[in-house]
């Protein structure tokens, strides 16, 4: 029962994050700057910097391979095999290393394994990739708050909670 109680929040989190928010988590590039009319076509010196386009395979919804690994990880978490779940998530990250949801799920698994420092860093990493996905970011901040509290950093936990609150 205690085991189950431990997995319940994790499972919920994984399910939640797997359902995910619709796309856009890799967007966020600034709008291209238009050259004013009458301006000579710019050479390298005047070309405005623009983050380059992303390849199709890592953009938007994860591909089937990543989805199936996420499902497998979820099943393994439910079965109590956290190491196995982590291995599958790492495998998925090899395919989609910029997928913020995968980093988030891995953070949850590490939290369940009481690897608090690693869990917090993984959640923070997820946040740097999450772009406009507010619910994912909120989940990351709540996770960070929990692990900070678990190691006795109450002030840090409150700071993380207020970050999460702002994303509500």
């Amino acid at each position: 029962m205690t085991r189950f109680a431990l997995f319940l929040p994790l499972l919920t989190a994984l399910l939640l994050s797997a359902c995910g928010s619709p796309g856009g988590y890799r967007g966020g590039a600034p709008a291209p700057v238009e050259q004013p009319a009458g301006q000579p076509p710019g050479g390298a010196e005047t070309r405005p910097y623009q983050p380059p386009a992303l390849p199709e395979t890592t953009r938007g919804e994860p591909n089937r391979a990543v989805q199936s690994l996420m499902r497998r990880a979820r099943d393994l978490v439910a079965a109590g095999d956290l190491s196995g779940a982590a291995a599958n998530l790492e495998r998925a990250l090899r395919i989609a290393p910029y997928d913020a949801r995968l980093w988030n799920q891995l953070a949850h698994v590490r939290e369940s394994q009481h690897q608090y420092g690693l869990a917090a860093d993984l959640a923070e990493k997820s946040n740097t990739l999450a772009s406009t996905d507010a619910s994912l970011k909120r989940d990351n901040w709540l996770l960070i708050a929990r692990v900070r509290r678990a190691v006795g950093d109450d002030a840090g936990a409150r700071a993380a909670e207020s970050q999460a609150e702002r994303l509500r």
């Binding site: 988590y25 890799r26 967007g27 966020g28 590039a29 600034p30 700057v33 238009e34 004013p36 009319a37 009458g38 301006q39 710019g42 390298a44 010196e45 005047t46 070309r47 405005p48 910097y49 623009q50 983050p51 380059p52 386009a53 992303l54 390849p55 199709e56 395979t57 890592t58 591909n63 089937r64 391979a65 989805q67 199936s68 690994l69 190491s83 196995g84 982590a86 291995a87 599958n88 790492e90 495998r91 990250l93 090899r94 395919i95 290393p97 910029y98 891995l106 420092g117 690693l118 860093d121 993984l122 923070e124 990493k125 946040n127 740097t128 990739l129 999450a130 772009s131 970011k137």
Partner: protein, 778 residues
């Protein structure tokens, strides 16, 4: 003559005593004899007991040192994966899959147009078993377009091919083997062995007198040794327990051990031991033992997949692995193989049709021994060093561990070839004596820290000085990003557009020596924006910046990025008076590419024991090492280095539109030429220089950059991009003034700023926006 009576007396006496003595001697003799017999029995018995004990210990204890096997990273196939046909073909060859018209059994594949049908082998990974599958995949434009199960026609999410074996860690006596069980020995192999080596194996008790007599007769007739009468058991005894000297004593021992073996163990146990012990070839210092390894060594396939002809070839090698070496003496090997087939036919083990087909088959051996350490010595070296932290040497060489690494053989081979050819090209174009230059290269995955390739020198196939790990050289301007990151981590003081002074500076080091750094072009550039100073690698601006930040702050940054060496706070550190190996540089750039998260470089993902139980997982670990927002700014600047700075030469190699981040490095008198850079999916660090540390005459952009460029062109690299963290916003900046701009400013560029650090003032041009619009409508 007083001696006479004495003599007669003594004669009489002697006669008397003689009789007594004779009786006594007789008794004594018997005593002695029985004592001698007893002693002999004791000695022989003791010796037999000793032999029996040795046999038991050897046989039932750990019989063989089984070297650890090293696997490369498996190839993952899924729809949307970028992979070329050429790479897939290479992967099939690495795994020993045979190309056929229509695959009908494991390890076969076919290709038509962009459509591949592959019948994969099953494989046990550290995270579960991958079943054998029939897959049907279509590739178009270098991407897997469709992946299906060839039988059910259902789409497949993900298929993982088995990982190619790339090495083994064999012990000092150089014996290498792949263990096989009796039930894994192909029937054809067993039949061949019995037909040629020991026809009465299942009847005799270890020694076959009939075979000895036959061999003796044959040898007498021939006047030399043409036939051996040794049973398989005797051969095993010889190989297993004894030295190779030829003496009667050894022969006797051999026979004794054979009898003991037969008394104690079943025929199948003996056959299994024989199949794993027998010497079947030589690969440099590595001795090939057993049929399991021989199958891989000669055919690059597991024993279970060999044909009758291939099994017969292996049986033929028993008589003399060197003399019948199919690579060096194919004619002899074929004759021997056909003789084995003939014997099998004569014994009724195969049909005439089978024999005919087998003798008609080519030898089928691969070009060279596979999965030896000669393949990728520099990478295997890294693996061994990482393993030595966690395992004892004897465990690695004897416990049959399975080591799963992060090696990408496709990238590794390309990297080896490109480094070597580029060095040759450089020597030619610069009229240098061939062999003057050398180099090293490390490649990794930016987000996971997995090392995918290591090249230790231009002669990559030869183990030797591993420059990638051990050439510790000054890194020159590769240190600069750490200086600029230190600055960008203080957003209240520095942004990408903060003006820096690129002016002469004179410093006095701790040793009292005066240091007057100069720019590479020996000019000064006055006031330059921070981003330009890094993009153009200006020395003076960097020294000014570093001195303002404080050397300790820069050292602190370097340590957090992963530099482990002691660093002295001398100003020259700011221009790269810091010596690191290419691997260490990779670690530093890993943290940039990882968005400020330090990920220890890994060459191993997991270690399993011989029974496939996981011993250790080397999991992905990350640790925040720098402010992700500051690293985001830095990376944008490193993209600028390649777009318009010292790395712009890469444009020649990369397709337009692909933007990567990078930095060149050059040291005093052009001794070391570096390039470190990353795209979204690949990170690589290249060093070019001379082993004798003489000037190589190459800047970073002339020596190392072309290697990097050609490598990425051939492998393909995705643009580096990352989403701006929350704390970052883009603001239009007027290049003239470094102030806020808007659409009205010509050449305005969007720069990322950590929120609150963007300039407050607007450039004069931005207020002209209304005037500009009016002019448009006038």
């Amino acid at each position: 003559m007083s001696s006479k009576p004495k003599r007669s007396r003594s004669k009489r006496k002697k006669k008397k005593t003689g009789r007594r003595k004779a009786a006594a001697t007789h008794r004594n003799g018997w005593k002695w004899l029985s004592a001698l017999i007893l002693l002999t029995l004791l000695v022989v018995g003791g010796y037999l007991l000793y032999l029996s004990h040795t046999v038991r210990v050897q046989f039932e204890g750990k019989r063989w040192a089984v070297p650890a096997r090293i696997y490369a990273q498996p190839l993952e196939l899924y729809e949307g994966k970028a992979i070329g046909l050429e790479q897939l073909r290479a992967a099939m060859a690495d795994l020993g899959y045979r190309k056929v018209g229509k695959p009908y059994q494991a390890a076969q594949w076919s290709e038509r147009g962009g459509r591949l049908r592959i019948y994969t082998r099953a494989f046990v990974f550290w995270d579960g078993e991958e079943p054998a599958r029939r897959i049907d995949l279509r590739i178009r434009g270098g991407v897997i377009e469709q992946l299906r199960d060839d039988r059910s026609r259902q789409p497949l999410d993900l298929v993982r091919l088995e990982p190619p074996l790339v090495g083994s860690i064999y012990p000092a006596h150089h014996e290498d083997r792949v263990l096989v069980r009796r039930d894994q020995l192909p029937e054809a192999l067993v039949q061949g062995l019995l037909a040629v080596e020991d026809r009465h194996f299942y009847q005799h008790h270890g020694v076959d007198p009939k075979a000895i007599a036959r061999a003796l007769w044959a040898n007498l007739r021939a006047g030399r040794t043409v036939q051996g009468g040794s049973t398989l058991t005797q051969q095993l005894a010889k190989n297993f327990f004894l030295t190779p000297e030829r003496s009667l004593w050894r022969k006797l021992n051999e026979a004794l051990i054979s009898l003991i073996l037969e008394a104690r163990y079943s025929k199948d146990e003996i056959l299994e031991a024989y199949a794993n012990e027998i010497y079947l070839g030589q690969d440099g210092p590595r001795a090939i033992h057993g049929f399991g390894l021989a199958a891989h060594f000669y055919f690059n396939r597991p024993l279970s997949e060999l044909s009758l002809a291939e099994n017969a070839l292996l049986v033929g090698l028993v008589k003399g692995a060197s003399y019948y070496d199919p690579r060096r003496h194919p004619e002899r090997a074929k004759q021997r193989r056909d003789l084995v087939i003939g014997q099998m036919l004569a014994q009724g083990a195969i049909t005439p049709a089978q024999a005919q087909k087998a003798t008609a088959a080519p030898l089928g051996v691969t070009q060279r021994g596979k999965h030896n350490n000669a393949s990728f010595p520099a990478f295997i070296d890294l693996v061994r060093r990482q393993l030595k932290r966690d395992y004892r040497e004897e465990d690695l060489t004897s416990e049959g561990l399975r080591i799963f690494t992060t090696l990408d053989p496709w990238a590794q081979r390309k990297a080896e070839r490109i480094l070597a050819s580029q060095l040759e090209r450089l020597e030619k174009s610069r009229k240098l004596k061939p062999g003057t230059l050398n180099g090293a290269l490390v490649m990794s995955r930016p987000q996971s820290g997995e090392v995918t390739a290591v090249v230790g020198g231009r002669a990559a196939a030869f183990a030797g000085f591993n420059r990638a790990l051990d050439a510790v050289r000054p890194i020159g301007s590769l240190v600069k990003p750490a200086v600029y990151l230190t600055a960008l981590g203080q957003p209240s003081r520095y942004t990408l557009v903060t003006p820096l002074r690129d002016e002469p500076i004179t410093l006095t080091g701790e040793d009292g020596q005066v240091w007057k750094p100069e720019n590479y072009d020996r000019t000064t550039h006055g006031e330059v924006p921070l981003h330009t100073a890094l993009a153009q690698s200006y020395n003076l601006a960097t020294v000014h910046l570093g001195m303002d930040l404080g050397l300790d702050a820069v050292i602190d940054t370097l340590q957090r990025l992963g530099v482990d060496r002691p660093m002295k706070p001398y100003p020259s550190l700011l221009l790269g008076a810091l010596s690191l190996s290419p691997l260490e540089v990779t670690q530093v750039f890993q943290t940039y590419a990882g968005g400020g998260f330090h990920t220890p470089l890994r060459a191993i993902s997991a270690v399993l024991d011989a029974e496939n139980r996981p011993l250790q997982r080397y999991a992905l670990e990350i640790e925040r090492a720098a402010d992700p927002a500051a690293v985001f700014l830095l990376n944008r600047n490193l993209v600028e280095v390649v777009r318009e700075g010292t790395g712009r030469g890469l444009a020649r190699y990369l397709p337009s539109g692909v933007e990567v981040a990078g930095k060149t490095g050059t040291t005093n008198d052009l001794r070391d030429s570096w390039f470190a850079g990353f795209g979204e999916d690949r990170l690589a660090v290249v060093w070019v220089g001379r082993d004798d540390n003489q000037p190589a005459g190459l800047t970073g952009s002339a020596g190392a950059l072309p290697v990097w460029g050609r490598l990425m062109r051939e492998l393909g690299v995705a643009s580096f991009s990352s989403n701006p963290p929350d704390e970052v916003e883009y603001v239009l900046i007027d290049p003239e003034t470094g102030l806020r701009a808007d659409e009205g400013c010509p050449g305005a560029q969007a720069f990322p700023f950590i929120r609150g650090s963007e300039p407050a003032d607007r450039a004069p041009c931005s207020r002209g926006v209304t005037g500009f619009l009016q002019r448009l409508f006038d």
